[in-house]
């Protein structure tokens, strides 16, 4: 089993979700995070004092997949989420030892 973690631009989430669904990914866990990197934030002004907002909003997606699917899933995300502009995000893959479906107690492949 692998865990694919992707950090992408928020307005790409909908496209990524659809592409993954088409590929056959049935579940994922998503959260709103802030990214820090080459892409710079913006400046806000309050009563003449400027604030540089360094962090940029991102969407973080976690998907547990079969070993075999990991590369495809990464490929789909990278393809769909890319805009070619700085800040498109990262995807990384790590191994996991086991996964359990809470409802049934099913394990591993059966649990995804």
């Amino acid at each position: 089993m692998k865990l694919v973690t992707a950090v992408i631009k928020p307005h790409k989430w909908e496209d990524v979700r659809e592409a993954l669904e088409t590929f056959g990914v049935t579940g994922m866990t998503v959260s709103e995070v802030s990214g820090y990197g080459r892409q710079k934030g913006h400046t806000e002004v309050y009563r003449g004092a400027e604030y540089d907002i360094a962090l940029v909003p991102k969407i973080r997606i976690e998907i547990v997949v079969d070993d075999a699917d990991a590369d495809d899933v990464v490929g789909i995300i990278v393809k769909t989420a890319a805009t070619g502009r700085i800040g498109d995000g990262k995807v990384w893959v790590s191994g996991i030892e086991t996964v359990v479906r809470v409802r049934t107690g099913d394990r591993d492949e059966a649990a995804i």
């Binding site: 802030s34 806000e44 003449g48 004092a49 400027e50 604030y51 962090l55």
Partner: protein, 461 residues
């Protein structure tokens, strides 16, 4: 009549409250959280800009042929369409006894301009909006106000539209239209006017990126509900303050004041109650549930519809009108999806349709002159004609300003700004920062100290 006067002070303040923060909140809550500040700013700036313009030339253009200045002089009227902007320019020689009238009418011009902003939410350069407003009120609002309330073409004057249709009555010195058009507090001047302007601009400016595909749901319905409540409250100033005393002496005026205002207050409220329930009923039938956005919208639809009619109906008639307004506006807000114009916050569905329901509904429901009261079709014909005229006038005027701005300053922000959020791009701010609320410092979303330059050197200028 210092009681009447005290009421007018209050009524005028109430109408100002309608724009800021009433309408600002009603609209702001419906927009997305990345554009709520821009939405609020469109209402607040309407007050800033149109308020000053009204004192400069708005009052003069609307009423200076009918309301004498401090020297007892009146200005010219152009073809019953508008008055001289110079006669009482800057209120410099306006009679102080007219100040409360100036103030009351000013707040009407302000909110009419502000209403339009709902149709073009989230995508318009703030500077273009600031330029649009003064030109638009000059071309569309001041002339219509003059025509309807200043003794112009849409009033009951000899030579006016109504007089042209069904002739006049009265002796030579005092000839008036047999059937006078009825617009108690602004069905045509305010709501049809703003609704049409919204429609024209929405078409001209085009849809928001993602319209019809992406969800664009209200980001904070509690704001919208506060706004709806304040609008209702302020509307008592709007409608009940629109009484025109016609008594021959003080006693008659007091008598008129103490009966007419009660009726107008009641009608305003009953139509609004009925419209709220009417809107909820449609939602219940169509969507299975009544929503709070529906209730808030029904409130406004009812208030809009009863605006022209509140002095002409019975309380029961007002409830009938209210239900009609609630039902029809609830149905009308879906039209934008069918026809594909992005009237973001439903200015057309609520103000244009509601304004038409009220203006035309008078033809059916007026206790004097209404079809349902067996008084024939004349009032109805006059009301429809006036409504159509207002639609055409507002449409043309808006088209002229809208196109002129489109090809000079341009209306729209870039696509990137739409995605990123107009609040940052146009105002350099974000509306909310809740990060700290459980004790953490405002860490995420505002992570850099203010730049040295500004914080240490303070003001540059």
């Amino acid at each position: 009549m210092d009681g009447y006067y005290a009421w007018m002070l209050m009524a005028t303040s109430l109408v100002l409250l309608m724009t800021a923060p009433g309408l600002a909140l009603f609209y702001g809550g419906m927009s997305r959280s990345k554009s709520v500040l821009n939405m609020l700013m469109m209402s607040f700036s309407a007050l800033g800009v149109v308020g000053m313009v009204y004192a400069l030339w708005g009052f003069s253009m609307s009423y200076s042929s009918g309301i004498a200045d401090a020297d007892g002089e009146t200005g010219w009227e152009a073809a019953k369409l508008f008055d001289s902007p110079f006669q009482q320019f800057g209120l410099s020689n306006t009679d102080p006894t007219s100040y409360i009238t100036v103030a009351f009418q000013m707040t009407f011009a302000v909110i009419t301009a502000a209403l339009i902003s709902g149709a073009i939410a989230d995508r318009v350069k703030f500077s273009s909006w600031l330029v649009f407003m003064p030109i638009w009120v000059t071309l569309s609002y001041f002339p219509l106000a003059h025509q309807v309330w200043g003794g112009g073409f849409l009033s009951d004057v000899d030579g006016g539209l109504a007089a042209l249709i069904f002739g006049t009555v009265g002796d030579a010195a005092d000839k008036v239209a047999e059937v006078a058009p009825i617009d108690y507090a602004g069905g045509t001047v305010v709501h049809i006017n703003a609704g049409v302007a919204g429609l024209v601009l929405a078409l001209l400016i085009g849809r928001r990126k993602g319209f019809g595909k992406e969800p664009m749901k209200p980001h904070n319905l509690t704001l919208t509900m506060i706004g709806a409540g304040l609008l209702w409250f302020g509307w008592f100033g709007f409608n009940v303050g629109s009484i025109v005393l016609t008594g021959a002496d003080e006693a008659e005026n007091v008598a008129q004041f103490t009966t007419e205002t009660g009726l107008v207050w009641l009608n305003t409220t009953l139509a609004t109650c009925a419209a709220m329930m009417g809107w909820l009923l449609i939602e219940r039938i169509r969507d299975g549930k009544g929503t709070s956005l529906g209730a808030a919208s029904g409130v406004v639809a009812g208030l809009v519809a009863v605006t022209p009619a509140c002095g002409a109906l019975s309380p029961i008639g007002s409830m009938v009108l209210g239900v009609a307004a609630g039902v029809l506006c609830a149905l009308a807000v879906g039209l934008k999806y069918r026809f594909g114009y992005d009237d973001s916050l439903d200015v057309v569905g609520v103000h244009l349709v509601g304004g038409l329901v009220g203006t035309i509904g008078i033809g059916f429901l007026a206790t004097t002159g209404g079809l349902f009261y067996g008084d024939g079709i004349k009032q109805f014909v006059v009301q429809v004609t006036v409504a159509v005229y207002a639609v055409v006038w507002a449409g043309l005027a808006t088209l002229i300003v809208g196109v002129a701005i489109k090809y000079t300053l341009g209306w729209r922000v870039t696509e990137d700004v739409e995605i990123e959020g107009i609040d940052f791009a146009e105002h350099g701010e974000s509306a909310y920062d809740f990060a700290g609320n459980t004790g953490r410092r405002n860490v995420l979303g505002a992570s850099e100290p203010a730049t040295k330059k500004h914080v240490e050197e303070g003001v540059k200028a």
